[in-house]
Assembly symmetry: D2
Homo-oligomer: 154 residues x 4
């Protein structure tokens, strides 16, 4: 199965959550598995979107408590490894979609690039200036279409 | 969903693989998710058993390559963290079933006990003497029944 | 430099702490670096022993707070990775000395054996029965002598 | 002891290595412990600088082999955790000095900011545009002076 990570702010920004939800829906429409950090904000909205379309979701938690996963997570990975779980989110993905976020999101983008994975930035510019290797696509629909057209699913 | 980890030898011991397969089948019959290390031997046999019964499987890999997962793994967690992935296998499980194995399996049993999780040893004695906190149940069927009767699925 | 890990109970057992202190002293006498989990009990006693002899100590902490290291730790490694730090303690050691302890200690012994490292059990039997690959040496002095006579320091 | 992480390119860029060496020297002059990733490029040059001034160095390696540490590393932390070791480098530091580098360096800067640690960028601009929270100081001498004047060593 194709696994797509969605990374982005854990805060409750309404616009980011709306984008995340649409990204989640689109991933599920293509039969992709949504991988995320399992908590709130963009992670929860993306998982909610995926479940609306009957997709599967995997949440990779930083803490020790499986119950900290949001209610749209099907498969819970409990790492107890704090920020190191960001590495696993990215490593477990065939491609990474980045929504606006803070330094946690930036760390995931940078780790993905370091691993040679493509990062698609969705929904307008990130709070940082352009980072080489990140592809900007405005619409969630177009971004996910780009991923599944890219030959990622052989 | 209830997530049950199956740990045991990665080698090709026929008897252990047969036990693992039966454990996997039983977990799937109860609707549990099989969590394992994602590689060969007992891990592969347990995942095969789960898939025979239409269950879901999650493989938590030590290396960097998603393709190293055995073919019965639905959801692949790529850690790139070597032996530290044993911690995640155990942390992600509601209960742990241990089949005979070597020191890697022993580390997973010990980590589970350290985390306060119950460990069920299936299929005869482990190569080490009795470890306090491990419950021995000979038959895979009885072991999985014990788990799901224990109130783990509220 | 030769790095020797000392693993054992974090509790305040007087006899274990006395053994740990002597182990720490002996490692320092040979010019070895003491590696441990950085917290209390056997870890603290071993580090105290090493400092009495002017040795160097490294503590690999499970949590996020450098201040949780005991006061005999010179170099603090803050992992924030919980139980996964046990893997690092063992991987960073040329050899492992195990004092009596609980399942956390057992996990470190098992991980060391899995990595092909020799484990020396000091000070009487562990709470588990004999584990293949572990060498029992009663006296701290003899145990550390054995390690440095083994050609570990080329 | 005050522990300062130096992060930057692992490549052999002459100018970056010269900056790194000077940073290492300055940290040692103030009695700080140099923490780094333990490999080549900026990591090796910084460690070399620290040793020139008799300072102590700690290298936190991504791989499984203690021998992969550069020859200026006193204390070797072997993680076997790949990119997740970046988290430990940053967590183990009281402050982080960033030299120019690629996405690996960017991930360490972002992780440090996520953890609430101050990041000092030394020696001209990073390859990315300005990141909020990073303080730019041109000269290694001034950068390290800033750190030790900041009250980090109570």
């Amino acid at each position: 199965m194709v696994q797509i990570a969605v990374v982005g702010s854990g805060s409750n920004d309404k616009e980011i959550k709306s984008l995340a939800q649409e990204v989640g829906r689109e991933i599920a429409k293509y039969g992709g598995v949504l991988v995320c950090g399992g908590l709130g904000g963009a992670m929860e909205a993306a998982a909610m979107g995926a479940k609306e379309m009957g997709g599967a979701t995997m949440g990779i938690l930083p803490g020790d408590d499986a119950k900290s996963a949001n209610k749209y997570i099907d498969f819970v990975v409990v790492t107890g490894m704090g920020h190191a779980r960001n590495v696993i989110v990215v490593k477990s993905a065939d491609m990474v979609i980045a929504l606006p976020g803070g330094p946690g999101t930036l760390s995931e983008i940078a780790l993905a690039l370091k691993m040679g994975k493509q990062v698609i930035s969705v929904g307008g510019f990130l709070p940082w200036e352009k980072i080489e290797g990140v592809k900007f696509i405005k619409s969630p629909k177009e971004a996910v279409k780009y991923i599944f057209d890219s030959g990622i699913c052989k």
